[in-house]
């Protein structure tokens, strides 16, 4: 009997991470994630704008031509920008002001404009909601990794707490962001490649065992 139990795919966390593996949403992390607090603001804004937009845009009929659908997705995200920024300005006034351009850019992010069509909207609603959340968690993992590393190197601080003297002030520059995300992307590939190989070996050995018992 086939089981209807839903098991969420964790692809969005590492294997298809939108920053480190597919590079769908890179600009905010590469340029603006220069400290833990900035990374937190970027993650919250991405969650509030993209997740709600993905959930809402699901109700846009697929009969509408793709060109117009894309515009509607971006319009919904632009509307969501207003409450998102109002909230973030209340919680983190200074940090929000300094990264606002990268929050504004999220209105046309590829998770909303491309991934919805190729993946999310092909799934049932509940499954889609969990899947999109996992992709956003993947973004959070990458943003915090980059923000914390750069914050420690450039300012010697971790979420505002002083840990040591700044080791490398240039770590807050965009070029360092490119280099760091590139290196983290390679590490992510190495780890997910190992997991894939280990899974393939486990599958192969279980196949051999199954053949042996028959």
């Amino acid at each position: 009997m086939s089981s209807n139990k839903f098991s969420p795919s964790l692809d969005g966390l590492f294997k298809q991470n939108i920053v480190l593996m597919s590079g769908l949403v890179t600009a905010p992390v590469i340029v603006a994630a220069t400290s833990g607090e900035r990374a937190l603001v970027l993650v919250l804004s991405f969650f509030l704008m993209s997740y709600t937009s993905i959930l809402l845009c699901r109700f846009i009929p697929r009969k509408i031509v793709y060109t117009v659908r894309t515009m509607l997705y971006a319009t919904v995200a632009a509307v969501m920008f207003i409450p998102t920024v109002l909230l973030l300005e209340m919680w983190f006034p200074e940090t929000t002001k300094s990264v606002i351009v990268y929050i504004e850019l999220l209105t046309v992010n590829s998770l909303l404009l491309a991934k919805t069509e190729s993946r999310f909207y092909l799934l049932p609603y509940g499954q889609m909601a969990v899947d999109a959340l996992i992709y956003i968690l993947g973004y959070a993992v990458a943003a915090f990794a980059v923000g914390i590393i750069r914050g420690l190197l450039a300012y010697g601080t971790l979420f505002g707490m002083r840990c040591f003297d700044p080791l490398m002030p240039a770590a807050k520059s965009p070029f360092f962001g490119f280099l760091l995300v590139g290196i983290l992307a390679a590490l992510c590939r190495a780890v997910s490649g190992k997991r894939v190989r280990a899974k393939a070996m486990a599958d192969a050995s279980s196949d051999i065992r199954r053949e042996g018992t028959q």
Partner: protein, 200 residues
Amino acid sequence: MTLSTVLARIVTLAMTSIFLQNAIFDRAFGANVAIYASRKESHVTGFTLGITAMTTVASAVTYFIDKPLLKTEHGYYFLPLIYVGVIGILYVAGLIVLWKYFHSTYKRVRKYAHLAIFNCAVIGALFIDSNYGSDLPGYIGYGFGSGIGFFLACFLINIAHERLDSNKIPRIFRGYPIMLIYIGIISLALNVLTGYTSDF
């Protein structure tokens, strides 16, 4: 303002946004689109034409909207909504013109036209305009320069693409990771060359 002053201002701000504040190398606006577009030479041309046309025309249009809107205290909350509207209208108008007068081109580009228009490079250029543009020539200069800066980035990525994707590169770095490191090195070189550091 005389014509020569206007032209000088357009050229100066265009040069600034090509070299000093390059959309890709300095702000990573549309870095993912640049990496995608740089895979094929025809894509480099197509994307550059689409992005440059859109950033230039949309910049000129948004100047007249920004001027009254940014004077109000909370006007910036509505910028993304207005910019998406402007880009959307110009996008549809562009598609209609292509469909009516250049039908074969329309057939070729319709599959990826939305990628060239709805991306961070285009909307990012409009946000930068609203911060630095100040007057109409400034807006046009920044908008045009953003598109040409995108071309410069795509061209530099395109010429290195084959080597960066070759067997000589360790497997885990091949493709996307080494491309980011390559862009980072060019970004570093431009930073050193100009002595300019963005305030992000």
